[in-house]
């Protein structure tokens, strides 16, 4: 700690910070541009000037840049000093010399850091009478719009894109007045985190393109704290709604999980909520193609009657639905009839991951803790594709070597450019074993492109090399043995080693191998970590409900053991082969589907009940680190569409349950449901603490979902009825669907719908909500952790698979997850569809030669269940004997299945 003096008053601050960090942490409004809490200082913008005095006798003082000056003990500064103030006003004026005077038509307007800083310094009139320098814009893809003239040359974009996120296709060009931030030529920004440029850029150079198409200013959006549903990482988001549509997803700061950044799937993948073809009213499908729209009472009556008539009702849950909805389904049908809705091959992996979380001896680090690890082994995961934000955290962990080197030379960690220059290419060791190249390969010490079984064997070998009591792998070649030794040595010598594996390749052997490595490390008393990647938003949580796999449910229906089924927010056709699902559903007397999308399963249901998506429902999800987190409804769908009958899945199920027992629907509060779920499943006991109850108040007020400048209240729905209704009531949460309620920053609270503080309209306002800049929310970070390792470490597992051998004329399928298009709901969003690369079939060069096929040829892949035609991509990294298929194409293709390949005749090359 250090004591500094600001404008004559003394404050205790952290001496590892710079003055800007210290001042912002203390709550002073000091303008800045180029500094960012996650990226440190470079001193490029000269905006944060303060007056520094040598000692008490120094009355003259000197101007220094606060972001480049350490907060050393005894520092005396003045923010309010006239000279400093004038300097800052001049800097803004210079930065604005070329500004294009287009705030009214700028998407950043209203949450613009440049606007905030201009107001803060008092600059309001352009005095420069000469002409402005201009630039042309570039097309940067479906996510990001570019308007270069708004640039103030702070370098944040390239520092984030290149240094933080590892992108290569955005750079600074030209010099002096010419300087230009863009790509070397027009094209789609390749990096998976490009969307963060919209928040990192303090001006409107990079803006959110899908938002611009359905635009509303930030002050006009209604927000609620939400959790991203597009993968299992559990990033916190703030979706913004206007006119009954989600218009934009903003990052919601969480000190332990996502902090400042989201991946592009999470940021731009919400469009499915707004689809016109979404079911909004209950539907009765009497026969194929014959649909009757029902009202709620009639739908429930029919549903209740069908369930009462049924001999046995099966409930199929979903890993993309909340815990409460799944639990309510379990209550409706009974634990014995409850299926998780997850295919067996995936559920086996999930169960194993849960066990490893308990008995492998290493805890699951939060994303922030991941960044503090100093050696990482990734077994069988392409992190950027399967859990992108985790991949970004791993990248920071690997680059963390810089700070270690800097510390040894007494260079403060915030001095970004010095730290980077010092470290050059020095990195913490990262090892990746995956069938093909991954985006993190560029920073890995070694990448091994192996078949899934060989990845597991490598893992077992590493475990044996660390701990001789772990089973040895027989028949290992010399190169792999040497690699395993090197990995083991790196993990052994690390202060905090991290092992990452997951279910992407659906290989239990890889998980067991990762478990052995973790156990080997745990016995050495290192503060290591084990992160296991799950696929969907609530995969971790639903697995804890102990349901049976989907195959069991389909078999029970197909064999006539059960004659009715309730499917909760799950498209079964994306999990198992279509024919099998259709057979089972056709055999059932009654199929009731609840969903927010018009899926193949919905079309085959007799009764369809429109469930709420994450934007309209309450619920709890468990992320891959075992953190239970609550998401809240952002808006009430009936306010703008009075005809809609959308309700959360759990409410439909409660009503069905009441109908089944001929009761009237009880008045159940959501918090009771959560408590009920926690009571029924002891492992979920912690979810009650995951969120504040509905009775939480700040200064006696509920919390506002709308900023206090929310406009159009008396005109938005005046076309429907000039007498506006009272705002929808929300008894289940502490929030109001209104601007009335607490929305400030000075009372600590955990669930913050949107960040706003006086003078801070941009996302930089989050600095007002944290205990120190880049720290934790002052009210505590949201969520509660459920899965902590049990005391003691279980014994090593000895289930080492034989090495992979390429078959003759037969290939093994590996399904490769992909960020865009590989996930069910986000691939229904237009921008994601536009961004997703065309699906290709990957083959090793030798295999392609054997088939006499060239890149771009059309190939047919055939398994016992499926027949698919895809263009060929020759992948030099892929081991021979494997065929790589992108995820999300055909449910019938699962990793490990044997497949035959042939070239489509007449497509250039003849079949051999």
């Amino acid at each position: 700690m250090a004591t500094i003096q600001v404008d004559g008053r003394r404050y205790a601050v952290d001496d590892r910070d710079n003055l800007l960090q210290a001042c912002l942490t203390l709550g002073f409004d000091l303008p800045y541009f180029c500094w960012h809490p996650a990226m440190g200082s470079v001193g490029a913008c000269r905006q944060c000037a303060v007056k520094q005095y040598r000692d008490a006798d120094d009355t003259q003082g000197a101007l220094v840049m606060a972001c480049m000056t350490p907060a050393a003990d005894g520092t005396r500064i003045s923010i309010a000093d006239d000279q400093a103030r004038e300097f800052r006003a001049n800097v803004i004026e210079w930065l604005m010399v070329h500004h294009p005077h287009d705030c009214p038509v700028c998407e950043e307007g209203g949450h613009c850091h440049l606007q905030d800083m201009t107001v803060m310094t008092g600059h309001h009139r352009r005095r420069y009478r000469f002409r402005k320098r201009t630039h042309r814009n570039q097309y940067l893809g479906p996510f990001i719009a570019h308007e270069m003239n708004r640039c103030i040359t702070c370098y944040r974009c390239v520092r984030f894109y290149r240094d933080y996120a590892g992108g290569t296709d955005l750079g600074a060009f030209g010099a002096g007045d010419n300087i230009y931030f863009g790509r070397h030529r027009e094209g789609v920004l390749e990096n998976a985190f490009a969307g963060n440029l919209t928040e990192v850029c303090p001006t409107g150079v990079f803006t959110d393109r899908p938002h611009s198409e359905r635009y509303a200013r930030k002050w006009d959006l209604q927000f609620a704290p939400s959790v991203c549903h597009q993968c299992a990482v559990g990033c916190n988001t703030s979706p913004g709604e206007r006119y009954g549509e989600i218009r934009r997803i903003e990052n919601r700061y969480h000190g332990e999980v996502n902090r400042f950044f989201l991946c592009d799937r999470g940021r731009f993948g919400h469009g499915y909520v707004n689809r016109d073809d979404r079911p909004r009213r209950p539907e009765w499908h009497a026969a194929a193609g014959e649909t009757r729209v029902l009202d709620v009472d009639e739908a429930l009556e029919r549903g209740g009657e069908a369930l009462r008539r049924a001999r046995r009702v099966i409930g199929i849950g979903s890993p993309r639905a909340s815990l409460e909805s799944n639990h309510q389904l379990c209550e409706l049908v009974g634990q014995d009839n409850f299926s998780t809705g997850i295919a067996e091959r995936e559920q086996v992996c999930l169960a194993r991951m849960r066990r490893l979380n308990l008995d492998a001896g290493l805890p699951t680090p939060t994303l922030r803790e991941v960044e503090a690890h100093d050696a990482v082994l990734v077994l069988g995961e392409d992190l950027i594709a399967s859990a992108a934000r985790l991949g970004l955290a791993v990248r920071q962990a690997v680059l963390g070597r810089r700070e270690v080197l800097a510390e040894a030379r007494d260079i403060p960690a915030w001095n970004a450019e010095a730290v980077m220059t010092l470290a050059q290419d020095a990195r913490h060791p990262l090892f990746i074993a995956y069938p093909t190249t991954t985006e993190l390969d560029a920073i890995a010490e070694r990448c091994l492109h192996l078949a899934p079984d060989d990845i597991a064997r490598l893992g077992f070998a590493v475990a044996h090399a660390i701990d001789a009591t772990a089973p040895a792998v027989g028949g290992l070649d010399e190169r792999t043995r040497a690699t395993a030794e090197r990995i083991a040595e790196a993990l052994r010598s690390a202060r905090r080693p991290l092992v990452i594996a997951g279910g992407s390749l659906e290989s239990p052997a890889i998980l067991e191998a990762a478990g052995n490595v973790a156990r080997a490390l745990a016995t050495r008393e290192r503060r290591g970590g084990l992160t296991l990647v799950r696929r969907e938003a609530n995969s971790t949580g639903v697995e804890l409900l102990d349901g049976r796999p989907l195959e069991w449910a389909l078999d029970a229906l197909g064999q006539g053991d059960a004659d009715a089924v309730v499917v909760l927010e799950n498209d079964l056709h994306r999990r198992l082969p279509g024919e099998r699902v259709d057979r089972a559903l056709a055999a059932a007397e009654t199929v009731i589907a609840l969903d927010h999308q018009r899926t193949a399963t919905w079309e085959r249901a007799h009764l369809g009940l429109p469930a709420a998506s994450f934007a309209e429902a309450d619920g709890t999800l468990v992320s891959l680190e075992g953190r239970a987190q609550r998401f809240y409804p952002v808006y009430e769908p009936r306010y703008h569409r009075p005809e809609s009958r959308i309700h959360p899945g759990w409410r439909w199920l409660l009503a069905l349950h009441a109908g089944l027992q001929r009761r009237t629907l009880p008045d159940v509060a959501f918090d009771d449901l959560t408590r009920d779920c926690a009571r029924r499943h002891p492992v979920l006991a912690g979810i009650v603490a995951a969120a504040p109850g509905a009775d939480e108040r700040v200064c006696g007020l509920k919390l506002a979902r709308q900023p206090h400048r929310y406009s159009g209240r008396t005109a938005m729905r005046a076309d429907l009825d000039v007498s506006e209704p009272s705002p929808p009531r929300d008894p289940d949460t502490p929030f109001t669907f209104s601007m009335e309620g607490y929305a400030g920053f000075d009372r600590p609270r955990r669930e913050v719908p949107f960040a706003w503080a006086p003078g801070w309209n941009s996302p930089q306002a989050w600095n007002k909500f944290t205990d120190e800049v880049g720290g934790h929310l002052r009210g505590g970070d949201p969520g509660a952790r459920l899965l902590e390792p049990a005391a003691g470490v279980a014994g090593h597992v000895d289930a080492i698979p034989p090495p992979f051998e390429a078959g003759v004329g037969e290939w093994r399928v590996v399904v490769l997850p992909r960020l865009f298009g590989g996930e069910e709901t986000s691939s229904r969003a237009a921008p994601i569809m536009a961004r997703a690369p065309a699906p290709t079939l990957r083959l090793a060069p030798a295999d392609a030669r054997r088939l006499a096929a060239e890149a771009g040829d059309t190939l047919v892949i055939e398994t016992s269940l499926v027949h698919l035609t895809l263009p060929l991509l020759v992948d030099a990294a892929l081991p021979s004997g494997l065929v790589g298929i992108p995820a999300g194409l055909a449910a019938a293709l699962s990793s490990g299945a044997p497949a035959r390949l042939s070239v489509v005749p007449g497509d250039g090359e003849a079949q051999p």
Partner: protein
């Protein structure tokens, strides 16, 4: 008693006389609606959306009028035309809520929204007080005859590329090394 009665009577008569004299004064009230009311050019009445001197819509859907409105009676949505201009895809004012304060006009950066000297907007049904964009749009520039937002601002639209707005140099060639 008589001494007080005389001035009191005089006061009464004087008052009667003064009142009577007013019958010959010029009238302050007008017999509306037979006679038109004089409204000053700056009178704050019915709100209109004007066009720029070229006849294009002036409103760029920046939402500043809506946020300035103290009764929140303005709601609009942004659209983007083929040529790159922003325009209000819908624009609605609920005149049954409007208090004619003129804050919207003051906030407008393009002189698009203006209050006019007209208050004759009464309706039998309150719902008819909700004006949509086609009810608000007029053909002329209103009180501001010259302002043309897109000629000033740097946003490129069809027919006005980068570097052609007010006080702008032609776009830079990023690939050159010359200053």
């Amino acid at each position: 008693m008589w001494t007080s009665l005389i001035p009191a009577t005089w006061s009464q008569l004087r008052t009667l006389g003064m009142v009577f004299r007013h019958a010959f004064r010029k009238r302050e009230t007008v017999s509306y609606p037979e006679e038109a009311v004089y409204l000053s050019p700056r009178f704050r009445g019915r709100i209109v959306l004007t066009r720029d001197p070229d006849g294009e819509e002036r409103c760029v859907a920046c939402n500043l009028c809506a946020v300035a409105c103290p009764v929140d009676c303005i709601a609009l949505e942004k659209g983007e035309a083929e040529d790159g201009r922003w325009y209000p895809a819908s624009f609605r004012i609920n005149f049954s809520r409007c208090i004619y304060c003129g804050m919207c006009e003051e906030a407008c950066p393009t002189s698009a929204i203006q209050l006019t000297p007209d208050f004759e907007m009464s309706e039998y049904r309150r719902q008819d007080m909700v004006y949509e964009k086609e009810d608000l749009q007029i053909d002329g520039p209103g009180k501001d005859h010259d302002y043309h937002f897109y000629k000033v601002a740097g946003l490129a639209i069809a027919g006005k590329g980068k570097g052609e707005a007010q006080d702008e140099k032609p776009p830079r060639d990023v690939r050159t090394l010359l200053p």
